[in-house]
């Protein structure tokens, strides 16, 4: 995900966190699972922490929970503000809030940072109690399945046996889908956007370039680096390249054209940044390395590479066989990282498996990150899917 949610300027009017439709000030919570956890790899952790946020109120019947699943570089802070002075709200603030498409007046929204992450959940940058040092490369290899199972333990802890919906884009779409596969009784509806049933060769290739940038940085030191140090150059390059895959030729051209920075005229024959897009990518990279751990990037991108439902379950139809949820998959015409065809294939396989599934496609030109788009069409689609009554599936008649 990119970091450049365009915000209205912070004027002198009412504080942004008090705007109508905003969940306002929020704070994260920590769920500590103090029991051993075995990863798909067979490796174990003595326990783990998941950092999460919730918005809205859980109903007396505990049936209005909506699970938000974040993407590679996302986190648990998907709506609201941690402090009035925050530069921007949670990453999906445009979708989630009172009266918004995911209406917190109606739903109890939960979002947790994934296992292996670096925003408060246990990951490679966490301290290994056995050594007193960060796990680094000794952290167990994490898969999307491990993330889903850890998240299930959080839901158990919250006393939520069934979620009204699991919603996510990109990796979050994988997590949402896999939750419905691994825990069929847990998930009633799935909204998966800009996603895939199988990380493509091209996507693996991009991930590998990012990992190489990190691992070739001497400061990576085979994953063993102090918390405040590490391969900042490598992570920055990984982020710059990944960022390009989240947008599109058209959207970059619209945003930057070939415009040059003000200082560029005198510097035409240097390698200093001349074009606005260069400065933008550097800025993106800087903001990313200040909030993200390089080892987490390696682990989570590897988890994406491993994601292949057909291979894991024998076939896509077999993967989806246990699903009880109804699914809505949304593809975006300009997404070249997880293109529409890969989103369509998810729906076609669900339908072949006899499941209830819909596919809609938006013709935006913003690329992969279109799922974060401010779009009334997208909001209406999601609201319509979440708020209508469940279709009675009465085969007894």
């Amino acid at each position: 995900m990119t970091d450049d949610v365009d915000l209205p300027p912070a004027g002198d009017s009412a504080p942004r966190h008090l705007a109508p439709g905003d969940v306002g000030l929020v704070q994260p919570h920590d769920f500590v699972h103090a029991h051993p956890f075995t990863f798909k790899s067979g490796q174990t952790l003595p326990g783990f922490t998941l950092r999460y946020e919730t918005y809205g109120a859980l109903s007396a019947t505990r049936d209005n929970a909506v699970l938000i699943c974040h993407a590679l570089s996302g986190d648990h802070h998907c709506a609201g503000w941690h402090a009035p002075s925050d530069r921007r709200p949670g990453w999906w603030n445009n979708l989630i809030g009172p009266g918004k498409a995911v209406d917190t007046g109606r739903f109890f929204v939960i979002c947790a940072n994934v296992l292996g992450g670096c925003q408060g959940s246990t990951g490679p940058s966490s301290i290994d109690p056995a050594t007193g040092r960060p796990y680094g490369s000794s952290f167990p290899f994490v898969t999307i399945r491990d993330m889903v199972h850890a998240q299930k333990l959080l839901l158990d802890h919250l006393g939520i046996a069934e979620v009204h919906a699991a919603i996510g884009g990109s990796m979050g779409g994988m997590t949402a889908l896999l939750s419905a596969i691994e825990f069929p009784g847990l998930v009633r509806r799935v909204v998966a956007m800009a996603t895939t049933a199988r990380e493509s060769t091209q996507a693996i290739a991009f991930n590998e370039v990012g990992r190489q940038a990190i691992m070739q940085d001497p400061a990576w030191n085979r994953g063993d680096y102090p918390r405040e140090g590490g391969p900042r150059v490598g992570l920055a390059i990984a982020r710059m390249m990944a960022h390009i895959t989240y947008v599109s030729d058209a959207s970059m051209d619209r945003k930057f054209g070939r415009r040059k920075k003000d200082t560029a005229a005198a510097d035409a024959y240097t390698f200093d940044p001349q074009f606005e897009v260069e400065g933008y990518l550097r800025h993106q990279a800087q903001s990313f390395i200040n909030r993200f751990d390089a080892n987490s990037y390696l682990y989570i991108s590897r988890a994406l590479d491993q994601f292949d439902l057909a291979q894991a379950y024998g076939s896509l139809e077999q993967a989806f066989a246990p699903v009880q949820a109804e699914s809505l998959v949304v593809g975006f015409a300009s997404d070249w990282l997880f293109p529409p065809g890969q989103n369509r294939e998810v729906v076609l396989a669900l339908l072949r498996a006899g499941k209830r599934a819909s596919y809609a496609e938006l013709a935006t030109d913003l690329g992969h990150d279109s799922f974060l788009l401010e779009s009334d069409e997208l909001y209406g689609l999601i609201r319509g899917f979440l708020e209508r009554e469940a279709v009675a599936f009465d085969f007894a008649i």
Partner: protein, 201 residues
Amino acid sequence: MSQRIEKQTVDMRIIGEWVEKQARVLDLGCGRGELLDYLLQTKHVSGVGVDIDFTRIAACVRRGVTAYQGDMMAFLRAFPEKHFDRVILSRTAHELNRPAEVILEALRVGRALTVGFVNHGFWKNRLYGLVEGRKLRNSVYTTEWAESRPANPLSIADFEDFCHTKGIRITRRVHLLGDWKTPCPAFPNLLAGYALYDLAR
């Protein structure tokens, strides 16, 4: 206007009678999902619609009809033989790019194929062209040429010839007069305003 709404329900009435309870139904060109919604409620079918337009798909999703946005040929090719009990082409046949391909592919993935279409051989439609010399406009085709989707109008005679040539079995047929209600007693290609066929291979 009320006549128009009544005409919109003709497929619901007739196809609703033909569809078996709990059948697995595919509606090609499902629009906003009215027909599937009706079949869902009256016949408890498990249905899916296909349409090319986002707004129509969103309307389906809102009313609880599962729907797929995309090309219907690509959709059909993604399914094994006889996956669906019934495929429906309700007032869609005249907008197909390659009608023969779609119909044959629909007969591969469906045990039955139901086609409902406006008969352009109907005498009033013939007369309109003769007298007005313009693109057909009436209570069903309300838009003028420039506002209309591309159409490949067909008649009962065209359709029966096609089925005969391709060896497609016609298991049921209903021809209705210009009111789309009264059964047509004779000379359907001239006297029927609307036709419904149930096909099999």
